[in-house]
């Protein structure tokens, strides 16, 4: 009796077990598929995050370059890292616009945050001297792919050219110096320090809000006189700002003012052009008590920051003047 019971019980338990196996196998397969899908999305998402961080680093990079043109067509490049991460400068492009010649020089210079590195053209392999009075553009390329490019300049020994990483709302293409063509070239910036108009034309620095949001600009202006003999520099404040808007047919001035304090602030709406006019320095060499007469390199400078704290400045060499 017991034996027959055992015989009958065996196949039943086997069959019961087999029925459960397919469910388990099915579950394992579905689990495997689910894991594969999850890992797919996870890996893609991880990679996306990594590349977003990579792109964010590129945006964070903030290197300014300043070039000083030396005699014999050489150049001194001063790189200042104003960002929080190390920037590696990989290439310098020198473009002679007069002869339409492009030259690239490979660099390998790391600039640590808030430090300055100076590169001299004599240390650049294969450096070709710049031609005096030819028009040039230079580009400084970092390993993250940022390209700093100033407005074109004329190669004049002693001239300083600044390359600034502009905020995204500034079109560096609009940044330019214009002199009034109806007036003669400026023999001197100012005859005295009493606010009398000088003998030549006005000079403007301009920038345009090319973004879609309004920014609030805090700025100051400077005229810098650098003595050609002693190298000593003197700075003086300049005076006027204007904002223009495009009506579709012409630029209309919407507001203007005098820079009476060290810094001024103004909202610049999308599409507006912000202009700073340089006309009357408060102090001029030979007339101010602390600036002696002599021959000076004259630079015009606009500097400031927006409401996000993004700073910029532009400096333009004006000419050599004797006071």
């Amino acid at each position: 009796m017991n034996r027959s019971l055992c015989r009958q019980a065996k196949p039943t338990s086997l069959r019961r077990n087999k029925r459960g196996i397919s469910t388990v196998i099915g579950a394992v397969f579905f689990f495997a598929i689910a894991m594969t899908l999850t890992s797919f999305f996870y890996e893609v998402a991880q990679n996306q995050i990594l590349m977003q961080q990579y792109d964010a680093q590129k945006v964070t990079e903030n290197v300014d370059a300043r070039l000083q043109i030396l005699s014999g067509g050489g150049v001194n490049i001063t790189l200042t890292n104003r960002g929080p991460i190390v920037a590696s400068v990989s290439r310098l492009w020198v473009i002679d616009k007069t002869t339409n010649t492009h030259r690239a020089y490979t660099l390998d210079t790391d600039v640590h945050p808030w430090t300055t590195e100076v590169i001299t053209s004599t240390s650049i392999s294969g450096w070709q001297a710049m031609t005096e009075n030819n028009e040039y553009t230079i580009k400084v390329v970092t390993s993250r792919g940022n390209i700093l490019e100033p407005t074109p300049f004329t190669a004049v020994t002693g001239r300083t050219v600044s390359v600034t990483s502009y905020p995204p709302w500034v079109s560096d293409g609009v940044m330019a110096v214009s002199t009034s063509s109806s007036e003669t070239p400026v023999p001197q910036i100012s005859r005295n320090d009493k606010g009398d108009p000088y003998d030549g034309g006005k000079v403007w620095l301009s920038l345009k809000n090319t973004g879609s949001i309004t920014f609030f600009l805090t700025f100051q202006t400077r005229i810098v006189f650098k003595n050609t003999v002693t190298g000593k520099a003197y700075a003086s404040r300049l005076d006027k700002w204007e904002i223009f808007t495009w009506t579709g047919t012409r630029w209309d001035m919407v507001s203007s003012g005098v820079i009476s304090w060290d810094k001024a602030s103004r909202a610049v709406y999308p599409g507006n052009v912000f202009v700073v006019e340089f006309e009357t320095p408060q102090e001029a060499p030979g007339h101010a008590s602390n600036i002696p007469s002599g021959t000076y390199w004259v630079y015009l400078r606009l500097e400031g920051f927006d409401d996000n704290g993004k700073s910029y400045f532009q400096e333009v060499y004006y000419g050599t003047l004797t006071f």
Partner: protein, 149 residues
């Protein structure tokens, strides 16, 4: 004895059927899993490679030779090697004259490598030209350059 054997044989066919069903199920799922896994891994590889591509067009030199062409210099700043598939200037596809990789071929650019290519363009003076470089993975990189006046 004979009776017992016959009794045992009667239970074989359900077991065989169960086993066959099990084998078929396992085979079907294995096939399905293998195929889907392969497809997913291919998609993952493609997508991850596409995500990690970065290219910067450093310079465009508008040359006045006959015929006119543009010398484009670019650097791979991404995390993967890439291959230039075609170049468009102001929306028009350009033929390559030569490149770092030889005559008539678009270059392959390795990580951190800089390469050039010359493409035919009958450019006009003082014009804006939007240069779009497209890779074989379908990414496009764009820059605007102004021809000399």
């Amino acid at each position: 004895m004979m009776k017992r054997l016959l009794g045992d044989r009667r239970g074989v066919s359900p077991i065989v059927a169960d086993l066959m069903l099990l084998v078929i199920t396992v085979a079907a799922f294995s096939l399905m899993y293998g195929t889907s896994n392969q497809w997913i891994s291919l998609q993952r590889t493609n997508q991850m490679q596409t995500i990690t591509e970065r290219l910067v067009i450093e310079d465009a030199w508008f040359r006045s030779a006959t015929p006119k062409y543009v010398n484009i210099t670019m650097t791979n700043i991404g995390r993967i090697d890439l291959e230039v598939k075609y170049v468009q200037i102001n929306g028009i596809s350009c033929t390559v004259l030569n490149s770092s990789d030889g005559s008539g071929v678009f270059p392959e650019v390795e990580i951190q490598e800089t390469k050039y290519m010359n493409v035919y363009l009958d450019w006009a003076t003082g014009q804006d030209y939007t240069i779009t470089v497209t890779t074989d993975r379908g990414n496009s990189f764009e820059s605007v350059f102004v021809s000399p006046s």
